[in-house]
Amino acid sequence: MSTQNVADALSPGLKLRKNRRRVWRPLGVTGLVVLVIWILVAALAPVLAPHDPLGQQFDRFLSPSGAHWFGTDELGRDVLSRVVYGARVTIPLSLLLVVCSLVIGAVVGAAAGYYGGWLEMLVMRTADLVFAFPAIILAMAVVAALGADLTNAVLAIVVVSWPSYARVARGLVLSSRNADYVLATRLLGASGRRSLLVDVTPNVAGPILVLATLDVGNAALLLSGLSFLGLGARPPAAEWGAMVAAGASNFDKWWLGLFPGLAILTLVLAVNFLGDTLRDMLDPRTARAVIQ
């Protein structure tokens, strides 16, 4: 089918070869370190943030200085504190989004691949449909109607993002359903469902994990994009996309948009570094080169 997902192109039947992975992967390690830092920042926000992220206690539009490293915003709040607290919004929601789409997509896709027939037909046609459907328009419509709120945005995006997982899961189930090792287990007397669980799941997990890792970045981008459009985070919560939007209306107050933008970039970049490295590790091509 044409409406094939990027993910499909990404991961045709990956196998993890553990034995001789290259130990030193600077990008992957960098990504991991930055990601861990961001997670720590999110967890320790109250400790790290110098000020109350909501406190409108300073002069407006103070440019960065020793007192306010990232300056203050249009309501006299400390931008650094807001950037720090922003991690608490973006990171968990992106993860939530990916986990929801992953669980829904993987289950639905695996069921489609396993049961086949009309179920598969229904699931895959729906996936095609959703793929062709412009995600952001859908998200905008849903959010416009249900009210600006990131949880609504997450809901809306889940509706359009499960199919990539469903496709990968289905593809992998289909290809492994007739794999020799599954047939071998079946011949020993295992039921179809058991072989799916025991034999297929571990093989599907790797590629799905890579896909999910890379998707966390996309989720963060999409969520902050919606917030940028005013359809995401609910004020006064500190959210990076919304903060960039504030910077957008005050161009010459560059610090308003620069720092939250960098926050998004570094977070997404870290996730992508990690995902890309994971993909390399899982990819049979690279794996082959490493093994031989």
Partner: protein
Amino acid sequence: KTNKGTDSGGTKNTTLVVENSFDLTTADPGRVYEVTGGMVAHAMYEPLLTFAGGDVSKPVPLLAKSFEASADGKVLTLKLDETAKFSDGSAVTADDVVFSFNRVKNVKGNPSFLLDGVTVTAPDAQTVVLTSAKANPALPYLLPTPALGIVNSKVAKAQGAVDAEGADKSDKAETWFNANSAGSGPYTLQSFSTTTEVVLVANDKYWGTKPVYTKIVLRNVTNSVQKLDVVKDASQLALDLSPDQAKDLGAAVTVDRASTTTTFFLFTNMNPAISPVTSNPKFQEAVRYGLDYAGIMSLAGEGAVQAPGLVPDKLLGALAAGDSLKRDLDRAKAALAASGYSGQEIPMEYPSDITKNGIDFGVLAQKVQAGLTEVGIKVKLAPAPVATALPNYRDGKEKLGLWLWGADYPDPSDYLAFLPGGLVGLRAGWKAGSSPDLTTIGDQAAIETDSGKRAALYQDLQRKLNEVGPFMPLFQSAQISVMAKSVSNFVYNAVWTVDFGALK
């Protein structure tokens, strides 16, 4: 290449690029109601009466060279200027006026309420008589509204325009009006898009003083970009800069700041069924005195004024600045304690996608929230795009609402809507009969024809509203217009924003 305005005097055979964040759905004068639409329609369709420059306190002749109200305030007679010509060269007649007004009423569009209860007749070709069911002292103030511009009825009819009853179904002319024009104004329509740009060209048969700019390109641009464009001379007039954006623009541009007739206000729902908390008068008092007016004014910026009452300062019956409320935290806290408020979160709804005069509702809401937090009121912001927020607002379901009201026409009678049982009153859960006292004053004010008495009545009304009403007027926003040095004679008008024909 691009012809930009030059400083060489006289007729500039030039194009003026104006940037605006579009609030535009139509160029049909029978339906036009939005801000940008008003600007465009005003340039093409002249009304019977107009306002001179930015002064909206006194209607002056335009297509009608004189007008006269009857003693009981129910009949308004206007004499047309026989030299007035439409852009096709034909004369403006009373029939055209009758057609235009009836069409506005019968297509049942946004502006049709303007002529509710008004019948229009034409005793002769140069005379128009407007008869209202009740005394209607506001009528002359209504007539300059862009929607009441006069259309060339012969041309319009030929394009499917209908003025009779049932025009809401039978009128087919809107498409034509979105591509052409048939008015007597200084400009005609060259191209029209509700999202891209509107291009107007000078009407070469214009009967008045020929406009200086031969072409007006009105572009839809967000305010932040407008700022860059006007500074970089990519445009000559930017209409939507926020007060913050208009700071430190440098010497290359002229900044015009004028207070508008747009009032931002907060309301607390009066309906105990909707909100037992906010309907408590003590709670309302706490909100009223707890709001951080100074902080809010710092957002509203230079040129904006704190609104002492709902009626804007340019209009008859406005309160003086001295009547403005001041923050009184102690009083607010005491009132809150007396109200029995027990710390529950109260959602405050507002339209998240509206930016008016560069004031973003989201930012304002956060400021309001912060002020009330200091009092001890927990406010939860509940933004939604207008499309979603409006139904709740209209149905009176919002516990706390942050909205704005722009004068439909520059007369205080427009603000009677805020009384109990009125359009806005109901939205705040204020049922008819809740305050007979206010209703009585309102009824009197509506039909009083003497200006002095009217003003006094409206002021009285607003003072009382400020005591017992659910509305907390915050401020009148400032219209900030930034233009290239080459542009002169700019005057902000609250009804149509800018008169392109007058620009030099």
